[in-house]
């Protein structure tokens, strides 16, 4: 794995919401606690100076509680949210330098995303939802339907291709979401807390599904979660995020063995205990 090509590399990403947000980046104000920063400047720093690298085929998990900035971070990668500062390189391309058309091309072919609340279009059945990405790429109808059926089969949903989202269970809906992300055969999959809305059994099943697909398809994955068990199960590397910063980045074993501070330790203890 060490010799693998770099799929994603981020350096010094900042995202500050609010007026004149550029001024906050790398200023002493940036170290202020959240509420003080907001009263002083009217700004909220959601992501502060984040850097990391994901090798091709690697699974990078970002773990944090709600409000830690992890969802903002993952949206910065494909510029669904425009970062305030920093560089992002995906497959050798500098993402922040891309023109709108190039950015669309990147999203169409290289980076796909799976969302927490599935984001399925209610007026389309499962098959057409999966075909959506291919449709906007302008593929022919026959082509996109064939490909969508393949992908649906891959996630085990070939039997409900004609069903509509509201006729499917949560787990099935997220499989459709997953199939949609896989349909255009992207290099990178971004998961934004994809299983947090599912019940525990289904969640475990879906995690296994992701692991299986990962083994078969060798995608590069960035996975956001607030569940450390999930992080430990899926990740090659795990980043613990708090108040917009990475507190620790380590392999699962390392993380359990050597928590960097009390905050991480508190998490890890829970996990160890519940796993016993």
């Amino acid at each position: 794995m060490e010799t693998a090509r770099t799929a994603i590399e981020c350096n010094g990403i900042w995202k500050v919401f609010g007026p004149k947000s550029e001024r906050i980046v790398d200023s002493p104000d940036a170290d202020l606690p959240r509420s003080e920063l907001e009263t002083k400047t009217g700004c909220v720093a959601a992501v502060r100076d984040i850097s990391f690298r994901v090798p091709e085929g690697g699974v990078f998990v970002v773990m944090g509680l709600s409000g830690s900035g992890k969802s903002t971070l993952i949206r910065c990668l494909s510029r669904l949210i425009e970062p305030t500062a920093g560089t992002i390189t995906i497959d050798g391309q500098s993402v922040r330098a891309l023109k709108p058309a190039e950015l669309r091309e990147l999203r169409r072919t290289k980076v796909s995303m799976v969302f927490q609340h599935f984001g399925l279009l209610p007026h389309r059945n499962a098959l057409d939802n999966v075909a959506f990405g291919l449709e906007i790429q302008g593929r022919s109808k026959a082509q996109r339907l064939q490909r969508s059926r393949e992908v649906l089969e891959l996630v085990g949903l070939q039997d409900v291709a004609e069903s509509y989202p509201d006729e499917l269970s949560g787990g099935m809906q997220q499989r459709v979401g997953l199939a949609r992300a896989l349909a255009n055969d992207p290099m990178i999959l971004l998961f934004d807390e994809p299983f947090s809305a599912l019940d525990p059994l289904i969640r475990r099943e879906m995690q296994d599904e992701v692991l299986r697909l990962q083994r078969e398809l060798k995608k590069t994955v960035v996975f956001i979660t607030h569940d450390l068990n999930e992080a430990l199960k899926l990740g090659d590397q795990i980043a613990i995020m708090r108040d917009g910063r990475f507190v620790q980045v380590a392999s699962p074993d390392d993380l359990v063995a050597n928590p960097a501070d009390d905050y991480v330790r508190a998490f890890v203890q829970d996990v160890v205990r519940s796993n016993d």
Partner: protein, 660 residues
């Protein structure tokens, strides 16, 4: 009437003083007081916009140059002939179809677009039109509607989409849309005649002006209501703006778009009657004739034909329910669609051919049974028995006298006899407490504009007429609310009652307001009362419907929680259902006020006087200036009422929101 919400006035005061918006409010208030101190109780003579002379001059110029000026030769002229031809061709096509052909076409279209139930309903409407004995006039109405509604929607949807994406544009056109809907259609019909000549063309234009705002508004509402999560999905997939619109926004907003079309149809039907004034004929002409000769039966008969046309359009445009649409799509294959289309056309063609051979083109006259007779008898019975001599209440006439003496006169005098600046200050304060400083500034400004209008021609100044109109609206709204509120709550709690009321409410909202005026006129003596009663009758259906919908919209979880705590029915109503439905009830009130307003204006025709009379007087007496000034006053007053009641809806909802 003026419920001053005392919700956290302290907080609002403090927030308000800090807000930069407060400047506008202060400026208006200071100006008013300065004017008062400097110039006494009546408006100073220089505070006069001289709208009327300018408009009159323009009107004269227009009369002289219409036809010869380049704007007419290359703009309005070709446009009006295009519109006229569009309607005429549609009408010719409808006539060519013959009645069996039209019936089959309607049935097949409804079956294809909206399903079997809709097809049966639509056929019922076609039969109904024929049975009422108004086949040919209704065809002309259908043609006029088809063209007007198509253009309204074709304009309304793109503008709605644009305004949903551009908040500044939306804010700018909101004022225009409000004005277009409150302005009595009378106001723009005759100017339309000067620009677009007579017949179908000005009718189409006036209809679009009146009806397109509904389409714009609901489209914008639907597009803005698309969940951000779905927009993000589209963006993450690399969709262009165009693709997002086509594949995500429009399909998701579809119910709202369909509702917009629906509303557009309803509003357009309201114009049908006055469109007949400028020579477009149709079923509206029958209503006008009935009004002219006070034939209640004929008015109702023609009114029902218009309702049937409305339902026909509605059935054809509403489409399937979500479930129906899926079941329908599941059975689709390309071959089948083509086969259906071909056989459909074949059926229509052969029906038309057979009908032509058999010589049945128009609906058979001996099949038609207008209901004018029974309605006339019924109405004669009512007016014989209820006008006078009813025990205790004495009958409609003495009721009308009592209302005039004890309710309408005191309220009118209260408003008319106050100095104008006192009213301005009072309204500004009320608006500020209900809706904040921005609304206060808007309301103050609107009233200052009214104070600057000086056309004379009616009995009173525009200001006095405005206050008179305001008093009528306030009374009508109070009565409507008192009736609609309990019925709406009952209907909201009982699905059966709601289902029973629903067709009644739907029908009542489509009957042109003119139709109500005829019977009401007979029962109540001339004056402000018949107009007020007509506007109450017109305002009740939306009032009831919106209240009921509000109550029904209370989440089941909240009801369940209250039940588990052992709430009685009354406690449930008082502490859960009404507070939670309050916002939508108040928004319903807002809608009802604007509707009532539009009828109070029409009521000028039956002796209610004031602004409605000024508009009619100005336009018929060819004093366009006065008509326009009264129109401006109407819009200003509507803005004031709208801002204040919208403010209530927002203020009152802040309370439950804070307690979550």
């Amino acid at each position: 009437m003026f419920v001053v919400p005392n919700v956290a006035i302290d907080d609002r005061l403090r927030a308000g003083l800090r807000s930069p918006k407060v400047i506008g409010f202060t400026v208006v208030l200071c100006c008013t007081l300065l004017l008062r101190v400097g110039f006494g109780a009546t408006q100073p003579s220089w505070w006069n916009f001289r709208v009327a002379p300018v408009v009159d001059g323009f009107d004269h110029w227009l009369s002289l140059h219409r036809g010869s000026h380049w704007a007419f030769r290359f703009g309005f002229g070709p446009m009006s002939s295009a519109l006229r031809n569009a309607v005429q061709w549609t009408l010719n096509a409808l006539r060519f179809l013959t009645w069996p052909g039209l019936l089959v076409t309607v049935a097949l279209t409804a079956l294809r677009v909206s399903g079997a139930r809709a097809a049966i309903m639509a056929c019922g409407c076609v039969f109904g039109i024929g049975m009422l004995g108004l086949w040919d006039p209704s065809l002309s109405t259908i043609a006029l509607m088809a063209v007007s509604v198509t253009i309204s929607v074709a304009v309304g949807i793109p503008v709605g989409i644009y305004s949903a994406h551009h908040p500044k544009f939306e804010a700018a056109i909101k004022v225009v849309l409000d004005a277009m809907q409150v302005m009595p259609a009378y106001c723009y019909l005759l100017p339309c005649v000067l620009l677009f000549s007579i017949g179908f063309a000005p009718s189409v234009i006036a209809t679009i002006l009146f009806a397109a705002p509904a389409s714009i508004r609901l489209t914008a509402h639907g597009i803005k209501g698309v969940p951000p999560a779905l927009m993000e999905v589209a963006e993450a997939q690399g969709a262009t703006k165009h693709q997002t619109l086509l594949h995500v926004e429009l399909p998701v907003a579809r119910p709202s778009l369909v509702l917009g079309v629906n509303q557009t149809i309803n509003l357009a039907l309201g114009i049908v009657v006055i469109a007949a004034l400028v020579g477009s004929g149709g079923a509206g002409q029958n209503v006008l004739d009935a009004l002219q000769h006070l034939e209640v039966g004929n008015a109702v008969n023609a009114g029902l034909a218009i309702v049937a046309v409305a339902f026909l359009f509605d059935r054809l445009s509403s489409g399937r329910t979500m479930k129906g649409a899926r079941a329908f799509r599941a059975t689709r294959t390309q071959g089948r669609s083509v086969l259906e289309a071909v056989s459909g056309v074949a059926v229509v063609v052969s029906t038309v051919a057979i009908a032509k051979l058999a010589g049945t083109t128009a609906f058979p006259a001996n099949w038609s049974h207008p209901i004018s007779g029974p309605i006339d008898e019924f109405f004669a019975w009512i007016s014989d028995n209820f006008r006078t001599g009813v025990p205790i209440i004495g009958g409609t006439k003495s009721f009308s006298d009592a209302i005039t003496l004890h309710v309408m006169n005191p309220v009118r005098d209260l408003l008319v006899q106050r100095a104008w600046w006192m009213i301005v200050v009072a309204v500004v304060v009320i608006a500020w407490l209900s809706a904040g400083s921005r609304a206060a500034a808007t309301c103050g400004l609107a009233l200052m504009v009214v104070a600057a209008l000086r056309a004379s021609g009616g009995d009173d100044t525009i200001w006095a007429d405005t206050m008179n109109t305001l008093s009528q609206v306030l009374i009508a709204v109070t009565i409507t609310a008192l009736i609609a509120f309990p019925i709406g709550i009952a209907a909201g709690r009982s699905p059966r009652l709601f289902a029973m009321l629903r067709p009644l409410l739907d029908t009542a909202q489509v009957i042109p307001a003119f139709v109500y005026l005829v019977p009401v006129l007979g029962l109540f003596s001339t004056g402000r009362v018949p107009g007020m009663i007509a506007s109450v009758v017109y305002g009740l259906p939306p009032g009831i419907q919106l209240t009921a919908l509000g109550i029904r919209g209370v989440p089941a979880a909240a009801i369940e929680a209250a039940e588990s705590l052992g709430c009685t029915r009354w406690q449930m109503l008082k502490s859960v259902q009404i507070p939670m439905a309050w916002r939508s009830i108040l928004l319903g009130l807002n809608q009802t006020i604007l509707l009532i307003f539009s009828v109070v204006v029409i009521a000028g025709l039956v002796g209610a006087g004031s602004l409605g009379l000024d508009v009619v007087y100005g336009l018929t007496k060819h004093e366009l200036g006065l008509g326009v000034e009264a129109g401006i006053a109407i819009v200003a007053l509507a803005i004031v009422l709208d801002r204040i009641t919208q403010g209530w809806a927002n203020t009152f909802t802040r309370r439950p929101a804070a307690s979550h």
